[in-house]
C-alpha cells in the first residue's frame, strides 16, 4: 500500500466552483462582471451615493454641460437637464429603477414560467399537445404589442408596463423548462427515483430542480437583458415610467426635447443603458460558455 494516496488529497470542486473557475478564465467575462457589479452597487446604494436629489429642480443651473467640457462644473459631473436636475444623480437612480424592476420582472417570470413549464413537461397525450402549442403561439406575440394592450387597459405607469413585460418574458421560461423536464424525465436517474416510489412533486424538487438551476441562471441573465431593454423602451415611448420618475428610458425621452442644445442629455442615459445591457449580456455569455466547458470536459 502506498504511503500517500494522490487521489485522496485531490480537491474535488463543487459544480458551482468548477463553473466559476471556467468563468474566471475569460477576461472579458470578468470585466463584464465588474461593470455589472458597479451598476448593482449604484442601484443598491443610490440614496447614499448620489450628490443631489434626482427630482429636485434647480432654476439657477439649467443645462450645465458635463464636467469634462470647458463650461462644465465639477459639482455637476454629468451636467444638468432642462429643469436643472443633476443628470448623474438621475442616471444613478435610473439604474436603480431600471435594473431593480428588471430583476423583479425576471424573478416573477421565472417563478411562473417554471411552474407552468414543469406542469406542461409532465403532461402526456392530447392535453399536453394543446397546452404546448398554445404556449408556442403565445410566445410569438411581440412584447411591444402586449405592452400596448396592457397600457390601454390599465393606463400608463411603471408598474403596468412591468406586468406587460413579465407576461412577455414568461413563455421563454416555460419553453426551456418544458423541454428540460421532458428530456430529464426519460433519463435513468429519474426512473430510479420513480422505482423508489417518488411522486411527481418529489421528482421535481429532489431530482429535476437541482439539475435545472444552472440553466435557469443562464436563462435569467438573458431575460434580464431583454427586460432592461424593454422597460427602457417603454419608458422612452412614454408608455412606461412617467416623467419625473428617474427611469433610464424616460430620462432619454426627456432629453430628446433639448438634443440640439444639450446632446449629453440623450447621449449619457443611452450610453448607460447600452453599458448595462452589454455587461449583462457579457456575463450571461460567459456563464453559458463556462457551463458548456464544464459539461463537455
Amino acid at each position: 500500500m502506498p504511503q500517500f494516496s494522490l487521489y485522496e488529497e485531490a480537491f474535488h470542486p463543487s459544480p458551482w466552483h468548477r463553473t466559476w473557475v471556467a468563468f474566471r478564465e475569460s477576461h472579458i467575462a470578468i470585466v463584464g462582471l465588474f461593470v455589472l457589479a458597479i451598476f448593482v452597487i449604484f442601484s443598491l446604494f443610490a440614496p447614499l451615493l448620489t450628490p443631489y436629489d434626482p427630482i429636485a429642480q434647480n432654476i439657477d443651473g439649467l443645462l450645465i454641460p458635463p464636467s469634462w467640457q470647458p463650461n462644465g462644473s465639477i459639482s455637476y459631473l454629468f451636467g444638468t437637464d432642462a429643469l436643472g436636475r443633476d443628470l448623474f444623480s438621475r442616471i444613478m437612480y435610473g439604474c436603480r429603477v431600471t435594473l431593480g424592476s428588471g430583476f423583479l420582472m425576471v424573478v416573477l417570470a421565472m417563478l411562473i414560467g417554471v411552474s407552468i413549464g414543469t406542469f406542461a413537461g409532465m403532461l402526456r397525450g392530447v392535453r399536453s399537445s394543446i397546452v404546448n402549442h398554445l404556449l408556442d403561439a403565445l410566445m410569438a406575440i411581440p412584447t411591444l404589442l402586449i405592452a400596448i394592450i396592457i397600457v390601454a387597459i390599465l393606463g400608463t405607469g411603471l408598474v403596468n408596463s412591468m406586468w406587460a413585460i413579465t407576461l412577455a418574458l414568461i413563455p421563454q421560461f416555460v419553453h426551456r423548462t418544458r423541454s428540460f423536464v421532458r428530456a430529464e424525465m426519460k433519463k435513468e436517474y429519474i426512473l430510479a427515483s420513480r422505482l423508489d416510489g417518488a411522486n411527481k412533486w418529489q421528482l421535481f424538487v429532489h431530482s429535476i430542480l437541482p439539475n435545472m438551476t444552472e440553466m435557469l441562471v443562464v436563462q435569467g441573465t438573458l431575460a434580464l437583458s431583454v427586460a432592461v431593454i424593454d422597460i427602457s423602451a417603454l419608458g422612452f415611448l412614454n408608455l412606461g415610467a412617467q416623467s419625473p420618475l428617474p427611469e433610464l428610458g424616460a430620462i432619454l425621452a426627456d432629453g430628446l426635447d433639448v438634443t440640439y442644445l444639450a446632446p449629453w442629455n440623450v447621449a449619457l442615459p443611452g450610453l448607460t443603458i447600452f453599458l448595462l445591457v452589454l455587461s449583462i449580456n457579457i456575463v450571461g455569455d460567459g456563464l453559458r460558455s463556462a457551463l458548456r466547458k464544464r459539461v463537455s470536459h
Binding site: 472579458i28 394543446i130 404546448n132 402549442h133 398554445l134 408556442d136 403561439a137 410566445m139 410569438a140 406575440i141 411581440p142 412584447t143 411591444l144 404589442l145 400596448i148 394592450i149 397600457v151 390601454a152 387597459i153 419553453h175 426551456r176 418544458r178 423541454s179 421532458r182 438573458l222 437583458s225 431593454i229 424593454d230 427602457s232 423602451a233 422612452f236 415611448l237 412614454n238 408608455l239 428610458g249 432619454l252 430628446l256 438634443t259 446632446p263 440623450v266 443611452g270 443603458i273 447600452f274 445591457v277 452589454l278 449580456n281 457579457i282 455569455d285
Partner: protein, 343 residues
Amino acid sequence: MIRILSRYSILFILTLLVLAILSFALAYLFPGDVLQNLTGIVPANEIQREALMRQYRLDQPIVFQFVHYLGNLLQGDWGYSSASGLSLREEIGIALPATIELSTYAILMAMFIGIPLGYYAGIRSYSTSDHAINALSITTYSIPVYWFALILILIFSLNLEVAPISGRISLLFDIEPVTGFILIDILLAEGIDRGVALRDAFSHLVIPTFAIGAITTASMVRITRRSVIDVKHRAYIAAARSRGLSGWRIFSQHVLRNALLPILPLMVIQITTLITNAMIVETLFSWPGIGSWLIQAIYQRDYPALRVGMLAVSTLVISLTILIDLFNRIIDPSREKYERASV
C-alpha cells in the same frame, strides 16, 4: 405528411380563434363604452344607439355577440377608428405592408450579412477574427434600438445630411398605394420619373433598415456561429476528416447544410424581436407603419384601432411562426416535436 399538415392547420385555426376571442374581450376590458370599443361609431342619440346595439347583437348573450363579431371580421367589417373615423381595414391595409416591407429588408440584410459572417466565425472558431466578430455582434446586440436609431439620425441626417429624417418618400411624389410596398408601388406607378422616385424612396429606407437590421444581423451571427461550432464537433465530421476529405469539401458537403437546419427555428424567435424593434424605429422615423399607427392610437385613446391592430399584428406574426415551423418540420423530420434549439 398529411397528418402534419392537418395538425398544423388545426393549431393555426385554434390559435386564430383564441386571438379573436381575446380581441373581442378587449372591447369589454378597455375603459369606456363597449359599443364604441367594438365599432368605433359614436351614437348620436339613444334611438341610434338602440339600433346599433341591435345591429351588432349587443343585446343578446355573449356567445351570440362573439359569433356575430367573428362573422364581421371575416367579412372585412373591422369597425371604424374613433380618432379619424376612417375604416380600420383600409388604414391597416396601408400601415401593415409598410412594416412588413421594412422588416423584410432588415431580415434580408441579416441573412446576407449575418449568416456568412456566422459561418466564417464558426469555422475559424476561437481565432482572433472569430473573437472580433463575436465581440462586434454582442456589442451591436446590446445597443437599445431607439438610441441606435437616434445616433444614426444625428450622424447621417443632421451632420452629414445624406438621408432624410422621416417618412417613406418625398411628398412631391404622388404614389398610389397598390400593394403597400413602396418600391413595388413606384414601379407600378404611372407618370413619374421612376428612377428619381426610387432613389428618393431608397434614401428614406436606408437608415431605418440599417437600425433594425444591424441588431437582427448581430443575433443571426451568434446563432449561426453556435450552430456551425456544434456541427463541427459531430462524429460525422470526424469521420469525414479521417477519410481524408479536404477542409473545403467537409465544409461544403457536411457543415454547410447541417448547420443551416437549427438556424431556421431560431429565426422564429427573432421575428417577434424584429417586429418590436421595427415598431419602435417606425415611431422615431415617422414611418407610416403599424407600429407608429398603434402608438398613435394609444396616445389618442383610439380603442377600436388598438383592438383590430392587435389582432392584425399577432395574426401576421403567428402565421409566419407556424409557417416556418411547418416548413422546418417538413425539411427535417428527425426533429423532435417540441424541440427548439437555443441561441
